[in-house]
Structure formats: structure tokens, C-alpha cells
Amino acid sequence: MHFQFTPNEEAFRKEVRYYLEREIPKRWRELGFGLWEETDESWAITRDWNRKLGEKGWLAVAWPKEYGGQERPVMEQVVFNEEMTYQGAPTGVETMMTIGWVCPTIMIYGTEEQKQEYLRKAAKGEIVFCIGYSEPGAGSDLASLTTRAVADGDDYVINGQKIFTTMAHRADYCWLAARTDPDAPKHQGISMFIVPMNTPGVTVRPLTNILGFHSFNEVFFDDVRIPKENLVGEKNRGWYQLAIALNFERSGVAAPAGAKRMLEELVEYVKETRRNGEVLAKDPLVRHKLADLAVEIEVCRMLCYRIAGMQSKGLIPIHEASMGMLFGSELMRHLTTAGMQILGLHGLLNRGSKWAPLSGAIMRGHLASLSLGVGGGTSEIQRNIIATRGLGLPREPRV
């Protein structure tokens, strides 16, 4: 066993940190945008930023060189993600979805033409995907989705509705799960498609998230016609590909890095804030809460390294990844809940008020953390996976 980063990894961390300290746009820092905060301005900044990273080969550092990556080992990707999050680099959930889940799946299941078409552009920051999984009637029970794709000559014709489609209003393509065999058992009749968002018949309608921003959408497909080449992988095997794709989402190495930054800001706050004539940092209840969070952050970080370690060896973390995602999402809830309690009434204030501690970041994080325990599989679904696939407990009889 050895618990230190290699000199190479440390050198890369230094390089990334040096770059970020100089290059993160001033305006982005002023905005102080966190997860699920999305405006025309933040979109423009992240898009420019992604192109800049793409030019350096840093948007997808672990990808093969032929697709625009740098073929860096998983641990360097970990280092990179840690620094990006800790330093607060511009990023949106669309980057994570595109680079983190959709494209790796195309890399596994796509044809060479598909890889050439989508991966290079994605790695350059030129295109982003949204993910068309959830439907009004298919959330946790995703396999019961009803959006249909029917073969018609050289095309597929798609009809149906998706919901909670994050960043569909910005995306160039939708990574879509649709039913291609309605007569097969529900897991065996699903296929994956790439649908250009500008195809006639695609309608995007905004949903406002709990922070008050437009990040979610409903997406309607009315006789949307796409060429057969846009099927990815094997027809009717989509569920199994999708299960792999979901696993890319679940390693969550950035969560503890972001939490660490937030905790450090809270520590600074309690050291310079007086309440009832005493510095907050001396209050045993405050110390207790912050220490607990520091413990949780360290535990989460080690769990993420463990998952990355598996990936380094070419293993696919399944229940381990569920654990990582679950732990990370609960960490963010615990952190922002404790933060809110420490800040008291002031914690309710948002940016724009001179009275808002940390410009309202804890409050917004508190709201944003809600969706972490829901999106990409609720905490309950993660626990089901851990219990049945990890521990081998018998499945609950299901209808």
C-alpha cells in the first residue's frame, strides 16, 4: 500500500493549479456560480472556457489522443478534477454529462464513424450533449420508458416526451433512450440514439429549478426523423449500455474537493465572526459541526480514490460507484445543512445583499444539494444497487 500521489501526479497538479490561478475569468469569480446556476452569461463563459481547455487537450485529459485527449492515467484525471473543482473553474453539468458519461459510452459502443464525428468535437469543447432518459412516467423505474423509435426506411421516427432534461436548451445533441421493441421484456427493448437538437419535431420547454434558474427542460419528440446511423451500439441492447454509462457518472471524485473549499470558507467565516460577544470558532457546537464535516470530507476523498484505483486497474465500479455518489451527495447535504445552521438568519440571504455571508453560497449549495440525491438515480436506488448487486441480498419481488 502507498497513499501518496506520484511525483508525476504532483507535478501535473502543480501545472493545473498554476494555470487555473491565472486563467479562471475574473467575471466567473465575481458571479460565484455553483451547481445548477445557469444564465446566458455563465453559458458563454463556460463555453469559451471549455474551448480553451479543449485546445490544451485538457477537457478530456484521460481520453485517447486520437479523440482529442492526452491519454493520462485515471489518477491524473482525479488530480485534474480535484483542482478544477477546488479552484472553482468554470464548469457546467453539461460538461460532466458530455465528457463524463455520454462520450465514454460512445467510445465503448460507437462505430468508428461515430467516434470520429462526436468525440473529437466534444473534446475540443465544440459540442455538448443533453441526456434523454427520464420521462414523466419513468423516473427510478427508468426501464419502463415509453418514448418510441420506429424504423422507417433509412430512418428512425421518434415520438415521446422526456423530462428533467438538463441543459437541453443549450445542447447540440440529445443522447436518447427510446423503446425499439415494445413487445420485449422492458429491459430488452430499449436502444440508444444520438438526436441533433435542431431536428424538426424536437421542442424544448423550460423548467425552473429550485434555485430559480433554467437548467431543466421538458423535451418533446413529434415524428422526429433521424438516420439509422444515429443508433449507437446494438439495437434493443440500450439498457445494458445505459447501465454502463450511468456508472461513469457515479465515481464522483470532485465532490470532496468542492466540499473542502466550502468548508475552508466556513472555517474562515467562523474565525472572523462574533456572536454573543464571542468568536464563533470558539463555540463548541460550531467546532463539533465543522470537525464532523472535515471527517466526512476526508472519508469521501478516500472512497473516491478507491473507486479511481479500481478504474486504474480497468475494473468497472458498480456498487462502489453507487457508494461514491451516495456518499458525495449526502456529504453536500450535511455540509450545507450544517453551514446553514451556523450562519443562522444571515444564511437565508442571497448574493446582492451586503449582509449575505459568503455571498449566499451556502444557501445556494443547500438548495443545489437536493438534486444530488435525486439525479442520476436517487439515494434509495443507489442503496438498492448496493444491497442487491453488492451484497447479494435477494431482490424484492417486482411487478
Partner: protein
Amino acid sequence: MNLDFSEEQEMLRTTTRDFLTKECPKTLVRELEEDEKGYSPDLWKEMAELGWMGLVLPEEYDGMGMGFMDLIILLEEMGRNILPGPFFCTVILGSLPILEAGSEEQKKELLPKISAGELILTLALTEPSARYDATGVATRAVAQDDGFVINGTKLFVENAHIADYIICVTRTKEGASPEDGITLFLVDAKSPGIRCEVMPTMGADKLCEVVFADVKVPKKNMLGELDKGWPVVQRNMEQAAIAKCAEMIGGAQAALDMTLAYAKERVQYGRPIGSFQVIQHYCANMWISVETGKNILYQAAWKVGEGLPATKEVAVAKGYINEAYKFVSERGVQCHGAIGTTRDHDIGLYYRRAKAAELAFGDTDFQRELVAQQIGL
């Protein structure tokens, strides 16, 4: 970063587990709870033959010269099996301070005997104030003739009733700080003036009250330097906390395994209770605690073994694993239902051990305060 054990270490784990499963069944564990000595001399001898007591001692003292991480593996398996007896206090609390602070003469005299299983040692640190910091040390040692005279009461001393030597932490000077003026002595447990009594505890784990009344100790039995013993204790407390974590994680793993087996076989409403999501989620949470606990344990243990600063890592690990073991054993009892609340079933053994282990070498509040200081509060 390499987060895997070596093949040799995996082998050590397997052989340790096999040995303990065979030689220390739960029937023996229960028997020893009631036993006056609290350990099996036969088993102790066999463990010595396997080289366990000298596992991390250098070969020149008849040890095996292995690493701290190997010791962690051993302790995990001991915790898994709830091995009763004086291994922890002899090896962790006894041999490690001697290895660190002892004179060559003391090492030559004692370490080979420890390796051979001929000596039982323990550490007398805590007192009626029940603190693990230097402030808690009130027992006095005063220079007299060619030695020192110790007076005071030590509490929660592990296995003092069977110990050959007690490392007694004493105050020899009222210094500028509580840490200044602490001196360690190797006290022959049969010295006149020592009164030892086993205290009735929740874990039936042979914690003793040891009263020192004018106990004479020759000067050559001083361990380390006069008045400068606290750093030795402090390092040992870090080693002990992380070693205890290993036992605890082993115990938590056992409680989880036991609960899973039960959940798969116990049928209610016509199906195994493990098919109910409520039980599944309890088990998932228990497993997360165990797995995350292991990761954090190994990182801290590695740092301690490498001699790197590990104050924060150890406090994080002990604080976290304290809660993890209690949580896992409590959910374990709950999943077992009524039988879990009896002494007929093994799961309750783990519940009692979890609480005892939390309180040893710093409970969660104690660790939290250390962490708070480490993050700049």
C-alpha cells in the same frame, strides 16, 4: 497511490483468520468473559509460536521485522473474531513504547521475551479523571535513594491483573505545561504496594484499577528521559488509536457479515427479510460505513507506519470508525430482532465491544476537537 495489500499481506490475513476461527471460537470468547484471567495461556503460546507478539519487532530482538500495516491486518482479524486477552496491551501499549524510548539494555532484556510470549505488559495512563491528555496524569513519582517512589491511582488499565510489567505514566515535575514533567516507568507488577482489581465493565474486557502505594522503582526502570515522557505517550496514543480502529473495523465487518447471513435466511411474510428494502437499506448503510472506514483506516495506518505526521488522519479515522462500529453493531442487533438482544447470540458481543472501543484512546468528541484544531479552528 497503491491501495491494495500485497499478496503476502493477503496471505497473512487468510492464515490469521483461519487460525482464529479454529482456535478461538465464540464459545471460548464467552467463556473467557467469565474467566478470572480473561485469556487462554494455551492460545497465547500458540500465537507466540506464530510470531505474532514480535511481528513488528526487529529481528535482533527475535521479532519478525514486519511492518505496521501487517500488524493492522492481524488486529483487524482479532477484532473480527473478538480475541480476548493481552495482545493489544502487550504489543501496542507495551512493546512499541519500549522500542521507541527504551535503552538498549531494556530492549535486549524485554523485547525477546515479549516476542516469545513470555511477558505480558500493559500501560497505566488514565486515572479517575478518565482523560487521555497530560492534564489527567496526577500519579506522582518522587526520587528517593537510588530510584523513584510512585503514588497514585490508575483506572481502566487493560489486563493489569495478569501483567508482568506495567508501564506507568507519572508526574515527576510540575512543569510550565501539563505535558512537561511526565516520566514513564517500567514497573514490575509484583512490586510491593501495587493493588490491582478487575473492574466490572460493559465489555467484560478486564479493565483494572491499579493503586500504587509507595511503590519503589529502580532508576534503571525509567523508560525514556526524566520529565520528557509525554511525546512517547502521545505517539503511542496515535498508534493505539489507529490499532484500535483496525480491531473495530474487523468487528464491524463481522457484525455486517453476520447480519447479511441472517437477512438472507430469516423468513417473515413468506420471504427472506433481506428482500425488504428497509433491511436492504440498513445493510447498504452498514456496508458503506465498513468500506469507507477501511479506506480511512488504511490511509492513517500507512502514515503512522511510515513515521509521517498523522495527527489529523488518526483523529479522522478514530472519530469516524468510533461511530461506524457503533452504528453497524446497533443496526446489526436491530436486524436480528429479539435474539439480537440476548447473550445467546454473538451479535450482542460486538455491540458491547463497539462502545468500549469508542471510549478507548479518545472518544468521538475527543477526536472531533483534535480535528477542529487541525483544520485551523
